[in-house]
Symmetry: C2
Subunit: 306 residues, 2 copies
């Protein structure tokens, strides 16, 4: 497999309110978080996304500076970038959307750049399943790994199309409540089995501060979340997780359950950085030594001798 990683998702501006403070209009969007997380690894990562002409040059420069390939990012003149604002409740476990301006998203026609049509890993970030399918269909051959990330909105309103995407991917990554919602079952072990019966060979169930579970047909791996004194802003945690996950797999060049276990820890490490500051602030400043140090923390958090 080559080390090309293609990501489709949103690039956006967010305004976030948590019990710890309030931001102005800051950089956001799942493709942004995924790209920033994946850029920490030796991978050729391309984003397919859409922006308006209000998207700041400084933000494009930031992403390009991280080595991300933005040739699949389409700018629509006279239109504004997707905007979302939300407010987290006191325990940070739930949030209320204050405002959603779809803007350019309504005109998004994803086009995969020629040099990414042979990418070994394709990550379909949280987005309209119709757009996810369009990207999948543009690949010249089936990638070694197709990963799907989705959320409750698409489960509720685009279920049929979403099922079609689920049937075509190798791995689905969703949170616990969404896994229960799709499969109409409470046990996460049963939910994972039902999801695998719908198509994917692998399932990741994200449990927020309780970590993540990775399943294949026979095995389960359980990654903790790093216990933190303060979770500052959970926005982008799931995206950073899956970005770190595919970044690690792309770098190591092997798709196996054993490598996915490591990738799940790497993803959890990336998520733990993201939640320690507003928006993409932590990811922007991340260094390889700090990632290595955090992975050591995950080791000592789970290792035991009997």
């Amino acid at each position: 497999m080559n080390n090309k990683l293609l990501v489709i998702g949103t690039m956006a501006y967010d305004a976030i309110e948590t019990p710890f403070g309030k931001t102005g209009r800051i950089l956001g969007g799942c493709a942004t978080y995924i790209g920033l997380a994946a850029s920490q690894f030796k991978t050729q990562c391309g984003l397919v996304s859409v922006i308006g002409d209000d998207f700041e040059k400084a933000h494009l420069d930031l992403l390009i500076g991280k080595g991300l390939d933005l040739s699949g990012v389409h700018s629509i003149p006279g239109e504004k970038t997707f905007f979302w604002s939300g407010k987290y409740n006191n325990d940070l476990n739930s949030r209320t959307t204050l405002e959603t301006q779809l803007n350019v998203l309504t005109k998004f026609e994803p086009v995969v750049p020629e040099h990414f049509k042979n990418a070994s890993i394709l990550l379909l970030g949280n987005l309209d399943p119709n757009l996810q399918i369009k990207v999948l269909n543009q690949m010249e051959k089936k990638p070694n790994l197709v990963v799907l990330d989705t959320m409750n909105f698409w489960i509720e309103s685009y279920r049929e199309k979403l099922n079609e995407v689920i049937a075509k991917v190798d791995l689905i990554s969703i949170n616990d409540e969404e896994a229960r919602q799709i499969t109409e079952t409470h046990s996460l072990v049963k939910a994972a089995k039902k999801l695998m019966a719908m198509g994917p060979n692998y399932v990741i169930i994200k449990k927020g501060e309780n970590g993540a579970l990775l399943f294949d047909k026979d095995k389960i791996f359980c990654a903790p979340a790093l216990p933190l004194e303060e979770v500052f802003d959970p926005t982008g945690a799931g995206d950073s997780f899956i970005g770190g996950f595919v970044g690690h797999l792309s770098q190591c060049g092997r798709i196996s359950f054993e490598e996915m276990k490591a990738a799940t820890i790497v993803g959890s490490a990336m998520a733990s950085f993201t939640v320690q500051n507003f928006g993409t602030k932590s990811l922007e400043k991340l260094t390889i030594p700090s990632i290595k140090e955090r992975i050591v923390a995950f080791k000592s958090l789970t290792e035991f001798e009997i």
Copy 2:
């Protein structure tokens, strides 16, 4: 340290309703679950408890057959054993108490048998903190490890006395909601620090299907719960956990954070057995090979290479 483990707690009859069925009057009580779990280890385990004359000989024989020392179990003639009945909701995460008959509990005057006054480990099971203190005061010297298990009822109604107990123990074991309730803080890392500031050197926060966290002043260990297809009956899971925890420590004869990590896994294994059947059924039939096999399952659930 010697291998004596002293446990104070209830011996009871329960009637339990879960989405999977309904029991008649079955054996229950925290000392029962703790004793059955601890009896799997090379330890001399004594129970301090109280029963009525309705307590069945078959149940006493069961506990004695497991090697438990019942010389601290006081039977009150003409009185009935503590009885609790409850019903779990569909996701098994909450329960409603249908009936509580305190019966003999109102007359419980715990007496520590002479040969257990030098026990190396004392486990104060979930019970009135006034009774927990009385047992602690009867020990001839401070045990190597005093463990406290408690729950929301005592936090709400006996707070002052509970604080007195907390100040005197080495380790407190409570669930996540109770940790938040006692410390009035949401972050479990902060909650653990606040609990340690109240006295104990170690804190265990139980998170049900999300595993358990073990803290000392500098370190954190994260034990997963075994992901199960069916959780049949959660009654006694926390007691089995702490029973396995102290059973392991008593057998290995060392009190350290490293041994407590192993003990946390052993406790999680015992809890995973308990929830797979009604009441004490799983614990009664447990064998050493099945415990070893399950600990291997916990290893493979958490081990990774990066």
